[in-house]
Amino acid sequence: MAIDPSEKRRLFERLSNVREVVFGMQDGVLTTAGVLCGLSGAVSDRKQVVLAALASTAAGALSMGAGAYLGTHAETEILGAELEQARREATEQPYVIQESLLNQLGKEGLSREAAYRVVTLLSTSPSALINTAEEKVYGLASGLLSNPIADGVVMGVAFMIGALVPLLPYFFIQSGRQGLISALAATALVLFVVGYFEGWLAHRAQRWRAGIRFMAIAMSAAAAGYLIGLAISPLGAVAG
């Protein structure tokens, strides 16, 4: 059954936070898995490994949340100012905005005459003209304006949830080696699920492939972390 356009719009608005969820979870899983792998290569005490991973999780969640908040805040401020200027120009110089919209519609395949008629019709409502020009001429859209606090919270929470995945096995499994293997297995599984979910959202036919691709890229980063940990472990021995 075809989805109702207004429902689709609400779906798009909800999906605007998918970036934060996917990015936060993926980063939480990977950073923590990377820390666990790296420390497991360098430190033999399981408690130290867990404590370091917990500290890394807290710092990472706060850092990612703050980063998302600041990034969205800056983006919202800049975009908001640009939209305001575009609206002012459209009010003060409607001819300019009409001409620009006319040219843009022409580039998108409408005949000159058809584009003229569309813009003429839109011009009967100043807000319709301005909203269309914002999207078509400036490539801006008020729908892109996100809530910085929501973005920050979503990113931070997603990071923490992601970070818990490789950490949890360490709480229940005493053996450091088995804990690491379980952490890696859980990490791989979650990364696959995130990739599969992303493929589902993108309506991809081969969602398994999307999951495997996501998992492979992310696990390569974790493997690199482990190798770097192994490489720097002699330095820890020297310092100790």
């Binding site: 110089q93 300019v96 006319l102 000159r112 005459e113």
Partner: protein, 175 residues
């Protein structure tokens, strides 16, 4: 861009004139003066104010023994529809589809692939008396073009802001 003192290149182009398709050769003009104005496109939001403006002032231009000719890169069919959209245009709208005439006059914008808003006032022998160009987003003043045509036709020294009824400059400075 061509300017005063240059001889405007002659051309023969298809045109829309009083609701009909025809052809026009510049050198066939029977009036003493001609105003040739280039505009970017039909079906736009700045051009109609000029195209209609020249149409409304057509009698005043005729009184100054000056023909008015509009020219753009649109084809004759577009000109006919555009003229009808504007309620009828009584002077020829010439079709310079490939922009060759605009290039010859030095007023073709190669980036936008349209002519600038350029106006040339010339004598019957195509000697250019006045040339001016505006950016795309600024419409021309038909009243000022008419004022310049009226000033040129006097053959007298016309001070700044001169218009019919205002005193001329010294007779001995007649050019």
């Amino acid at each position: 861009m061509l300017g005063p003192g240059d001889i405007a290149p002659d051309f023969e182009l298809p045109c829309a004139s009083s609701g009909r398709a025809s052809k026009l050769r510049l050198s066939d003009s029977r009036t003493d003066y001609m105003t040739l104005f280039f505009y970017p496109r039909d079906f736009s939001f700045i051009c109609p104010t000029e195209v209609s403006g020249f149409n409304q002032a057509l009698k005043s231009f005729a009184d100054a023994r000056c023909a008015v000719l509009g020219i753009s890169i649109d084809d004759v069919d577009s000109h006919l529809k555009w003229a009808a959209e504007l309620g009828g245009i009584d002077y020829p709208l010439l079709s310079d589809v490939d922009g060759q005439i605009a290039r010859a006059y030095g007023v073709f914008d190669e980036n936008e692939k349209v002519a600038l808003r350029a106006t040339f006032v010339m004598r019957k022998n195509r000697a250019i008396m006045h040339a001016v160009a505006c950016p795309f987003n600024v419409g021309r003043s038909v009243a000022d073009t008419l004022r310049v045509v009226q000033a040129i036709t006097t053959g007298r020294m016309c001070p700044a802001e001169w218009k019919p009824g205002v005193e001329f400059g010294p007779q001995e400075q007649k050019f």
